[in-house]
Symmetry: C2
Amino acid sequence: VKACGLVVEYNPFHHGHIHHIQSARKVSDADCIVAIMSGSFLQRGEPAIMDKFHRTRAALRAGADLVLELPYIYAVQSSALFAKGAVRSLHEIGVQSLCFGSELGRIDPFIQTVEILQSTQTTYDTIVKAYLDKGLSYPQASERAYHAVGIDDIDMTQPNNILGLSYVQAMKQAQLPIEALTIKRIHNHYHDDAIHTAIASATSIRKELLLNGLTNRAKQSLPKSTAEELLQYAHLANQWHHWEAYFPFLHYKVMTMDTQQLATIHGVDEGLEHRLIQTSKKATSFYDWINRMKTKRYTQTRLQRMFVHILTNTTKTDVHQAISQATVPYLRLLGMNTTGREFLHKQKKQLNVPIVTNRKKNIPASFELDERATNVYYSILTPDRQQSLRKQEFTGPIIINDSTSEAW
Amino acid sequence: VKACGLVVEYNPFHHGHIHHIQSARKVSDADCIVAIMSGSFLQRGEPAIMDKFHRTRAALRAGADLVLELPYIYAVQSSALFAKGAVRSLHEIGVQSLCFGSELGRIDPFIQTVEILQSTQTTYDTIVKAYLDKGLSYPQASERAYHAVGIDDIDMTQPNNILGLSYVQAMKQAQLPIEALTIKRIHNHYHDDAIHTAIASATSIRKELLLNGLTNRAKQSLPKSTAEELLQYAHLANQWHHWEAYFPFLHYKVMTMDTQQLATIHGVDEGLEHRLIQTSKKATSFYDWINRMKTKRYTQTRLQRMFVHILTNTTKTDVHQAISQATVPYLRLLGMNTTGREFLHKQKKQLNVPIVTNRKKNIPASFELDERATNVYYSILTPDRQQSLRKQEFTGPIIINDSTSEAW
């Protein structure tokens, strides 16, 4: 059985993701599509619009065969660490290829770029550091460094090119026997706010959902299965998730901590703890707080990730312990269909890391961080809704029959 | 100028408190009544129904001359430590007497009892420990120990007798030159829920206020000034305070802590951290949580105090550092009238601890705990209301003219 891995967030699963799955199947010639998906909080430092269980169901119903959860410790991180956790998870489950969407759409420049980077690493690092010291943000500094070492084939201001390069680089660094594949993204620009076509960006879809609900405009960009899961989740949770709902908890948390305690949290670096305390006194909403914290040096994404770690009480020690391991601590199985099940069955004997199917049994210690993140994720709901949704952690993986999957 | 000290919470200030002030003036022959008042959270482990500033104003308008805040580190504690902080504060400001209300109403039995306790301390302690080891609560164990060492003159199941004895004992232990006085409480039993007469218990008044609002029944038991301050506070805060409003924050907080971190919190002793984690999974409200935590050994009051310390992130180290000092770290001046001002003016030169009039200047380090408690206290309000109420910490003490005080 050949398997192809995708690194995803599905926030929410939309038509562009169906295109991704179908193209990946074609270019990889794989029987099984394995998605490694962020859980409750995402790479850009945001809560997912609905929980990981309903996003898994939407993905399975729309064509994914197996869905694994990327551990929190890798999910809410800069692209290098995010990529490291994702490709290692895919390697442990045993995929032969990884297919990512990119603005560029051709794989050779990615591979060549990684080779250039390998031979110019010291120069590249020196240049990045110099620009950081000048007060530039990490994305700005690294973009200039790319040019300086002669990388011009890829537009490194494009977010999916950056992520793609991180996957290829992470695989190369760990010498994983996984073939890198890429397809050209066909939907709107990543950050585009407006829904123009049937393939809209997840950002524009979330905006429409959170502002206006599941309108016809939103439905246009979503498979019927995602629309159904969104409604089902709203029925159970009485809301979808966004940062502002967490603001009271975040603010309360920071107000009960001193600078010393804040500095133990992952992402609170270089004196940000003092800025946090100062700005906490004035902040009236989450995005107001972000604006008060933002500088040239600290991008919104960087700050949002820091805020997620404060919210979940994730310390530098927690992160250090987890990422100092040679590989991922476990594979959390969220769901599968018949194809995914057969693939998993074949792989089971040769796995080097434990498969976690639910919270009940044989839980690796580091799994506590994921559980905590999910508990925090639900904390904005009423106590009874929290309790009933939390129970999903204790039930087995979601299993659906292939026949329920739908084409676009 | 002669001054008499009262140890109070004024939650809220009611007719019984006017009786207390007037009787204290009579029996002490003092010109100035100094009230040492708990701030945001109270001795029984509860948030005050309205903030300390509005409670101060109500007290001044109804006859108190000077109001000081009992530091958080003493306010939310068992009766011995609470009493220690209160009598030391009153000593530092320079009162000649302390007058407390008690169910008994005669001072001699209190003084004799403290003397008996002094000579039988070892026996008493041994008996208390034996009963605690048998699983009895502290109040139950100490009541039996009182009888065992021959203390029968005071009914030690009465809460105000217990507190009164603690004051007399704390003064004796520190050898403070303060005369102890007591008056008989004339209102309902402390825990009585129903409002029967114009002098009702604070508990029954709070119940009426929180369930039905500022009804005529509630007004009957309150001076007009308290009713006005309650309305004014509700106008600013859009609510009065009670535990359930803090439940989401408390629950969120516990869910992001592991047992090790919980065990650093003051009051989380003897493995309570494990019980906390277990019960947090089922608790659907604050009082539901209390009921799940309650045992013969751990009274509701004891647990409520623990929950306040979790909410305010007050560690064992914080408490240890504060109470290991010889006396109170500062006197926080909340408000005064002309009489109080004159008294303070006379005392100022001979004070041994700093007077803190607002958050702005010369703040002793330990004041941070009070500030944090007040920030947490307001955290249930909307951000703009929090900010405007927090500003009171930065303005000077409340000063009112005597003429505004009203008799009952």
